[in-house]
């Protein structure tokens, strides 16, 4: 096999690994939008909070990493609930633009609060997983771990939504909110549970990102926008669409980065996004 092909294959496989992580990132946001019909603009900032939680528990308080991570997931799940109860609930029936503005406000609040409390320096977990070398290709182990955990998270959520009473109620409520009480379901309670779930997914993403990236107050800006683009490309609120879009995006970034430079990968993926928006503004699998 030509050496050129090996490195292309490496780029494709790396794109696949990145795709799993991006799919997980888009999942929580899609879940919240699909069920509650509100966009958490501050979603990436919740992830930032989770990254800080892992960092502080592990580095500062010397907790074992495998204890710090579930705890961080719990913290972000709680943040999701607080966000819903105190910010979203009062504007649940308000104009969409007002809902965007309040969650956008939370974005700046969390960024500023993180700067005040944690400072602007980059915090590194100091955990370096080795590279895995297969023939002439090399992959980062933390990416492989992220891919596997992300995929497991996606599958777990899928079966939860497909099989459990609560999961079916979460899907049902997005189809007909008004008659849920006739099923004995309190919509307010489902919204709180969904918010906790969305928060927990953000927390899980935080645990995987903190292995690969340094934490700083503006880290949300480096993957928040791409998360939104993936959700919109897949069809906002459509989790399967988001899943497909995540892998498409990741290939553009990875393979585009292989042929040119990494930055060009992002340029290509955004060009692809814009072109798709002309062709299918409702997203790959979006309705209407």
């Amino acid at each position: 096999m030509d050496i050129f092909d090996i490195f292309l294959l490496e780029a494709v496989l790396n794109g696949l690994l990145l795709g799993g992580l991006l799919a997980l990132l888009s999942l929580g946001l899609n879940l919240i939008f699909g069920v509650i019909d509100v966009v958490w603009i501050c979603y990436a900032e919740l992830i930032m909070c989770g990254m800080y939680a892992v960092y502080y528990l592990y580095v500062v308080y010397h907790w074992p990493l495998l204890l710090a991570m579930p705890c961080a997931i719990g913290i972000v799940a709680l943040l999701g609930v607080l966000l819903h109860q105190f910010v979203i609930r009062p504007v649940l029936t308000a104009e969409p633009i007002n809902q965007l503005l309040v969650t956008g406000g939370v974005l700046f609040f969390l960024q500023a609060a993180a700067t005040l409390v944690f400072g602007i320096e980059f915090k590194n977990l100091g955990v370096a997983l080795p590279s895995i070398v297969v023939g002439e290709m090399s992959f980062s182990a933390s990416r492989l771990v992220a891919f596997c955990v992300a995929l497991a998270g996606v599958l777990a959520l899928y079966f939860f939504l497909k099989r459990s009473y609560l999961g079916i109620a979460i899907r049902a409520i997005s189809q007909d909110r008004a008659i849920m009480p006739l099923m004995g379901v309190s919509p307010a309670r489902i919204f709180v549970i969904t918010s906790a779930l969305g928060g927990a997914l953000a927390g899980l993403a935080a645990c995987l990102l903190v292995l690969q990236y340094d934490t700083h107050p503006a880290i949300g800006l480096s993957f928040g926008p791409i998360t939104f683009l993936i959700c919109v490309l897949g069809g906002l609120g459509n989790m399967v669409g988001g899943f497909i879009a995540a892998f498409l995006f990741a290939q553009f970034i990875s393979v585009g980065g292989f042929f040119f430079a990494l930055e060009w990968g992002y340029v290509f993926s955004f060009i692809f996004f814009i072109a798709m928006m002309f062709w299918r503004p409702q997203g790959i699998l979006g309705g209407k």
Binding site: Y165, I168, A169, R171, A172, Q175, D176, A178, I179, M180, P181, L182, M183, G184, V185, S186
Partner: protein, 234 residues
């Protein structure tokens, strides 16, 4: 079993029910008939607490429902088949039925209840993996009634089960309602299709402009001059 005493209710700036009193005894099938806009749907929505009464008292088996939140009414033994069926279109038939048994007491009896529903509606069993939105109108009505039966109710509220269905399907739906009434369920049914529904129930109330204006046995109402002239076109 169910009683309403002097119940008034409405929506913001609009009163739909005025001083309504009615009673449904255990094992009875009772209809509320009346023209479009009389407040029939509102009446059922008040009973299942989707809207709160502004005055009066609602009781189910002796317990007051007036202060019970909507999502706890089903645990009191009341299942409501809403107007226009309101299935979850992108859930399968079986998932819709599963939603009907969401309350803890019904979850324990899920297998038993779903077998019962499939026995009543073999068609639903054939289509159990199909999305509810792709069913025909009659099948959707079956699914909606089946979903309500999944909670193991003692009182079934049916809101216009024949609305929007083809005449031949209407026949079979009323046949179904008749069967449910004889199965020991207590039924309160709201209908515009007066001639048909009076053949199925024992007693009925005539609701006009939010007030009960006439009540009696089904036969009395069928014979009543007023009903014959206004509603049956005789």
């Amino acid at each position: 079993m169910l009683s309403l005493e002097h119940v008034s209710a409405g929506y913001a700036g609009f009163q739909a029910l005025f001083d309504v009193s009615l009673e449904v005894k255990a094992g009875e099938a009772v209809a509320v008939i009346g023209p479009n806009g009389a407040g029939k749907t509102t009446l059922l929505r008040v009973i299942s607490k989707l809207i709160d009464p502004t005055a009066g008292e609602i009781r189910m088996e002796g317990g007051a429902l007036t202060a019970v939140p909507a999502h706890e009414v089903i645990a009191r033994g009341i299942a409501h088949v809403p107007e226009n069926r309101r299935l979850f279109p992108r859930l399968t038939v079986e998932e819709n039925l599963k939603m009907g048994s969401f309350v803890p007491s019904a979850r324990k009896k899920y297998t038993e209840n779903i077998e019962l529903v499939y026995k009543h509606f073999p068609r639903l069993k054939e289509r159990r993996m199909q999305l509810a939105g792709t069913l025909s109108g009659g099948e959707q009505q079956m699914c909606a009634i089946g979903r309500a039966l999944m909670s193991g109710p003692r009182l079934l509220l049916l809101d216009e089960p024949s609305a929007g269905l083809a005449p031949v399907v209407v026949q079979s739906i009323f046949e179904l309602v008749r069967r449910i009434c004889t199965e020991g369920y207590t039924v309160l049914i709201v209908e515009q299709n007066i001639r048909q529904v009076l053949k199925v129930v024992k007693r009925a109330y005539l609701l006009e402009a939010g007030r009960i204006v006439l009540t009696g046995s089904a036969n009395e109402l069928l014979d009543s001059k007023e009903i014959q002239k206004t509603y049956l076109g005789l």
